[in-house]
Point group: C2
Chain length 231, copies 2
């Protein structure tokens, strides 16, 4: 498998999602996103209009976290958020699954919740965050099945706020549940190029990485391999 | 100062707010709330209709966390949430302040954000969560001033998800900023009756406590003092 530097950067979403981040950190993230041409930037949603003006004229996309990071709001609130952020200029949506409903076995609600957000996103990419540290294996499997059936474009391992470190075994489990319409995004604890290579080999097509680690990963790639590398 | 057991329980809000809590834990919380006659119960908002039916016919109130736990959504989303949860039966609202705006010095936005939620709550109690571990002293002071001016009924120390342990010094600082229209709720890290007594003496009038600690506090009071105690 050939990894091309310019394509690798388009597999990486960067984020500054900690609640106390100020506008300075958002500006810094947008500068890094432009410089390395990352795929999407994520901040807490009130920053979307600010990010929109910072990224004007670039191909970096604006992501919106939905019901972030706990996921436990009524579907109508998730739909309202999606519609609002789409209107403000977001083009990708990372929603947190209703973990309480999943844990309570209310799969119908989990499905409906995702389906409605997918509809509200009007064809834009929707990723469903599962938060693996809180789930049993069978719940991960079930959640992947539900997300794919409900039309999600990606299932995603974690918000990055639950102490999760990605394992290739998690990706194998998720891929086993999926029928091929839904891809896997890994987020939380991705720090090195070696991790990225291992996870790509396991089938991951998108990474959520914090700004500093993302820059480190791209710099490492350039230093070690230049423009491309045969994985 | 006389502490009467029946009044003490009405100074305590209990909560099960972890994202992976299932309906079983919500039921358990509601049983404890009824048994000890606590003031308000809090769970993630999609549980409000379930809690409403569990608490039917009791005087325990239903609380709604707004923009919980990160606070960084546009004001319109906070207002939508408040209106929605009021409609579903919530009677108290604990909103997270816009921490990013506060950190960026955009006090006008912080004010407007609170003012709009207070308006949407139609006279019901609104508490503004500051998340003290992320704030400098001057930011706590400023946030208290803004919250009071915007009509908040309480300022609250923490969501309980930022590793906060309450200190009486924090309460003194908050009370110093406030002019007397806004009260102080302490949440996060309240575990014992001794802490509660110290914090009451410092001027706290409401506590956010997890279910097990709240039960422990009331049991301890009954065992040690029975119906009342001169603090």
């Amino acid at each position: 498998m050939k990894i091309i530097r310019r394509e690798l950067s388009k597999m990486i979403d960067i984020s500054v999602l900690k609640p106390e981040a100020s506008i300075k950190e958002i500006e810094e993230m947008c500068r890094a996103a432009k410089r390395y041409n990352f795929k999407v930037v994520y901040a807490l949603p009130w920053y979307i209009p600010i990010i929109r003006s910072l990224l004007k004229g670039t191909e970096v996309e604006i992501g919106a976290p939905i019901a972030f990071p706990f996921g436990g709001v009524p579907t109508e609130v998730k739909v309202y958020e999606t519609t609002k952020y789409l209107d403000l200029g977001a083009t990708e949506f990372d929603m947190v699954i209703n973990l309480g409903a999943l844990k309570s076995g209310d799969y119908k609600l989990v499905y409906k919740d995702i389906e409605e957000v997918v509809k509200a996103a009007q064809g834009h990419i929707v990723k469903v965050i599962l938060e693996l540290p809180y789930l049993e294996e069978n719940e991960v499997f079930e959640a992947c099945r539900i997300a794919e059936d409900a039309g999600a474009h990606f299932v995603k391992t974690s918000t990055g706020f639950a102490g999760y470190v990605p394992k290739v075994e998690d990706v194998y489990l998720m891929k086993k549940a999926l029928k091929g319409n839904t891809q896997v995004k890994v987020a939380g604890g991705v720090r090195t190029l070696e991790q990225v290579f291992d996870l790509i080999k396991a089938g991951v097509t998108r990474f959520g990485v914090n700004m500093n680690s993302a820059v480190g990963i791209m710099e490492k790639f350039s230093q070690e391999y230049g423009e491309e590398y045969e994985l």
